[in-house]
Amino acid sequence: MTEQASDVVFEGMVEGYGRQEAAECLVLHGWVSRQATWPDELTVTADFQRGTISARAYVAFHDRPDLGAQGVGFVAVVPAHQGRLGNLLDFRFGPHQITVAPTAAGNSNDLSERSALAHAGALLASCLPHPDLARMGTLLARHFMGEGYIDAYGYHPASAGWFVTGWVSNDWISAIQDAVEAVAHFDNGRRTGAVVLNFFHRPDLAGTGAGILLHLSAQEDTPGQLRKLVLASGASAVSLRLAGSVLRVPSEALSGAFVNLINSSEPSPAREKLYHLITHAMFDGRDTLAGLPDQVLMEIDEAIHCGSDGVVLIGWMLAKHGTVEAIRLRSGSRMFDIDLGTAVLWTERPDVADTVGREAGYDDRNCGFVMRVPTARAVTGSLYLEIETRAGDIGFKPLPRPRLNGIAAIKRLLASVEAQYNDVDAIYDHVMGPAIAALNAQRLQVPARVQAQQFGTPVTAPRHSVIVPLYGRIDFMEVQLALFATQGIGHDVEIIYVLDDPPRMRETQGLAASLYERFRVPFRLLCLERNLGFAPANNAGVRAAAGDMICFVNSDVFPITPDWLDRLAAHLDADPSLGVVGPVLLFEDGSVQHQGIAFKGLPQFGNWSFPLHKRKGFRAPAEGGLMREDAITGACMMMRRRDVLAYGGFDEAFIIGDFEDTDLCFRLRRHGLGAAVDLDVSMHHLERKSQAGSASLWRSNLTLYNAWVHQRRWAATIRQLETGP
């Protein structure tokens, strides 16, 4: 998305529209202002007299010589199951409202609707290349042909789908191209899903058609009676109506009623599939994997509910290559297919390989897995896996009850995989990233209560608010406050400590009371009810802060001279184009810890950009003055309070603490506010050496997660900074 999109006046017009009944979609054409780029997924919203359609649309563009450089023609195909909507009143193209031409109204006029469709179809031919073009063409061309009837149907819980039998006329059968799509219309809605379809001979049709048997994977959810079934393949669709004597077969009788029919249908892979579906065993709570003719060894160590991202499973599996055809997560009658291609991470599990694996004759060390099932949202009740072998046999694996949530769940997930080099993209894009993002969102959804304690008289109308989060080393507060105090921190400075380490609340309050007695510098201590991490802790401080300037300071940053706050603030006062300013930070030996941040792509982590402290470890800069930087560290940064409120503080999407500082600098930059380091202000910043190999796997993977969030957000900005203006 371009950064300046909202600043350009956007125009456009819908010149014609109509509903494509056979494809259950809405087709519109017209023109819009030219854009540098379009988002990959464009959502359109169409307000009609009798309803609103809002959906991801297929959109193709074509040149319009009449508009020149100003506009571009478009054709949009929008899934819309509702018919008889009346006239189109308003249309939003992404975020932009565009005009509906009076001449476009044609819904009530069958002729103009047809002409709209025909016109749109013709326009597609001149559209610019687009991956969705073929699909759009198919949908636009789709038309009903032939006929068909349903004789019997019923819901089959074991296979989580509907079995339907009936017949269709030969003209549709002969038009079948490849896959068949099915939409079942019930009293209370539509059901669609994967279809397995086979034919059988119906002597009664005397060669005009054939019997069909199909299985439509879909939840039952008591949708009422079936009203019709629309089958489509390519441009051909057929609508099957109910026979007068249609039979709704109860679930328990379904196998008996359908198994012979399936056996006598045309020999084909579909018949085998249907047979396996109808003979699909019911899960009775037992692990039946051992009973499979082809060996599949599997254990699930952990099942984790990931809020809006469904369920993640951690475990291991040993089976000969190609044995496992499909794995499905099930909860009662609900069934969720697992995408074994991209939604599964294979991980090294020497513990399994060296024991069970060796005994059973497998030499695969990568037998561990993390499986993401994003569709399994809000599943309740006991979960189990259904493992289908290539031979069509089904085994069940009951799952452990999901127990972890919040940081514990995030840790468990992160500790399960070692990601390096180019693996990181796939691992974080398809499995870890979305699951962890959802776990984090869920964790932060419930606000943590904050206990505020004032020590000394509160500062009225403060100029500066200094916000210091505390975690782990609470004792740093003793040294930091001693230095603030002995250097004569101003009476207009409000100091806010935020304890993000709940088990240490009493200890910290005791220390705080003693520090106030010793130093007589007033400050506030906010204690968070739960451990939230760097960004949320600072944000809690912001909510309590009243100063014009907010200075975020780490607890291990120590002033060297008394005037640091005023000096930093003076820059923000002097230059409205400056959004954030920080000091030079020095190690204990006087060498540079921070004087601005650059970025470096690390090949061992997919060439993602990691912040690099410039001149780190070198002697302190000899020159002084204010240096503009792309980004500065959050260990000590000052911002105007109004900017913090307008553009947000640290983003809580970064977990525990990495990258939120550069993210904040880039957000300010997008609003025209720069970052700088004052080379004349130095402070000490301790950066404890991490013992080699001591960083736990989950923690280093969490850094990778944060790097992933940052990368997906700012890769283009960083590239732009590197190549220069």
Partner: protein, 446 residues
């Protein structure tokens, strides 16, 4: 704090004519609680100042024993009107010398406002905490702060001894890296902020006193302003008269008797003494006896065990003249003169630098030469060949040879007894302090 001081009328008259210098002497302990050299020296200073017409003094000591003091208050006056005791509750951080006791600042503030001392003279920053230095300046900006330094606690986290943690080898200077090597579990950055914390508060000290030049130099090398460190010896009480114990030793006929006085610990060099005794036990000629006076009960179990084993072995060294080591247990301060007069020389074999060991001055006041390690404060206070004799620190063999020489030629000790420097007189030390107070406060007294 409502203390009514009953002053004798004579003093009050003097006060009207000329204001007396008001001095609060503070120490990390109190002689009634423990009997270390520092608290005794501080208390003597207080007593001497208080006995004068031109000064008046108060004493603020500490009691760190569990259960001391009264519930709810930090300061009490358990002894006399002019003595205050801070009873601690275990808030003191020995790494950073910080005191988190929330009761103390407010009570010290009230005390300072009541006493309004011109000089606050702290014998030690421990137990009170570094923060007290700034507190004094905040409450009484006109008051001057003098700190007497005892051992090397600010410089060295290893009990302030400047001896390496691993093998007790001597350390010449602290640095973040050196200290981290002694304490690998403590990060360099922690040593860094420890130092910043200490230095931050040392800035409020107007003047430092070091009982030895050696100690002064070590603190100056660490970064305290050298021009603001004066070397003044601790006040030593005069020797008690003991008519039954002549100042002169018994003569040259008996065995050579060497006394060890003080805490029995590894750093005090008790191992050197016992090793030397074992060597001498095998010499047929040597009639040399070691008399050990002191306490070992506060020492680590491993040391105690080794000490008692060595003692037992020494008792078995009876080849020629019976056991040459006798352990007499702990002694009281009022016994020390009597006991010292029972030996020919006093042995100070410490394997750390020392500052100004009181035992050396006590030996001098009893006219006993001191045989000591050739380093630090000991070597400074005991001039080789004048006040006593030096041997290479830790060298049992060199000490053995030295003692054999003294054994064979008793005149050496006799000469030293005549040349050794007697301890400074109390009034001289007090005068040095008053001059210092006058200098820092530009106060004219007397």
């Amino acid at each position: 704090m409502n203390v009514v001081h009953a002053e004798p009328p004579r003093r009050r008259r003097r006060q009207e004519s000329r204001p007396r210098l008001r001095v609060l002497v503070a120490s990390h302990s109190h002689p009634r609680v423990t009997s270390g050299g520092a608290e005794i020296a501080a208390f003597r200073l207080f007593s001497e100042l208080n006995a004068r017409d031109d000064t008046e003094a108060w004493f603020l000591g500490c009691n760190t024993k569990a259960g001391a003091g009264r519930d709810g208050v930090a300061l009490t006056q358990p002894y006399t009107d002019r003595e205050y005791v801070y009873s601690t509750l275990g808030h003191f951080n020995w790494f950073r010398m910080a005191n988190a006791d929330p009761r103390l600042p407010g009570e010290i503030e009230a005390l300072l406002l009541e006493l309004r001392p011109d000089i606050v003279h702290l014998h030690h920053y421990v137990v009170f905490g570094m923060e007290m230095l700034w507190l004094i300046k905040r409450v009484l900006p006109q008051a001057r702060i003098v700190v007497t330094l005892h051992e090397y606690l600010a410089i060295c986290h290893h009990f302030g001894q400047m001896v390496k943690a691993e093998h007790f080898s001597l350390c010449d200077s602290a640095s973040l890296d050196n200290c981290h090597k002694c304490f690998p579990d403590i990060d360099v950055s922690d040593f860094f902020i420890r130092e910043r914390y200490l230095r931050t508060f040392f800035r409020y000290v107007d003047h430092f006193v070091a009982p030895s030049r050696f100690l002064a130099d070590r603190y100056a090398a660490w970064g305290l302003p050298g021009e603001r460190i004066s070397v003044i010896e601790n006040i030593i009480a005069p020797a008690a008269p003991f008519p039954d114990r002549p100042a002169e030793p018994a003569g040259e006929s008996g065995p050579l008797r060497l006394g060890f006085f003080g805490q029995i610990s590894k750093l005090k060099g008790i191992g050197v003494l016992l090793g030397c005794a074992a060597i001498l036990a095998r010499k047929p000629k040597a009639r040399i006896k070691f008399e050990i006076y002191g306490d070992y009960r506060n020492q680590p179990a491993a040391f105690t065990e080794a000490f008692l084993k060595q003692l037992a072995e020494a008792g078995a060294n009876v080849a020629y003249h019976g056991a040459n080591v006798a352990y007499h247990g702990a002694y009281r301060q009022d016994q020390v003169d009597r006991l010292m007069r029972g030996v020919d020389a006093v042995l100070v074999p410490s394997i750390w630098w020392e500052n100004s060991p009181v035992v050396i001055q006590e030996a001098f006041r009893n006219q006993r030469p001191v045989i000591c390690s050739d380093i630090g404060g000991m070597a400074e206070k005991v001039r080789d060949g004048v006040d006593g004799l030096h041997f290479s620190v830790g060298s049992e063999l060199e000490l053995s040879n030295l003692l054999l020489r003294l054994h064979d030629d008793r005149s050496i000790l006799g000469t030293l007894r005549r040349t050794l420097r007697p301890p400074p007189k109390a009034e001289d030390v007090v005068a040095q302090h008053l001059a210092l107070y006058a200098q820092v406060g530009r106060v004219t007294i007397g």
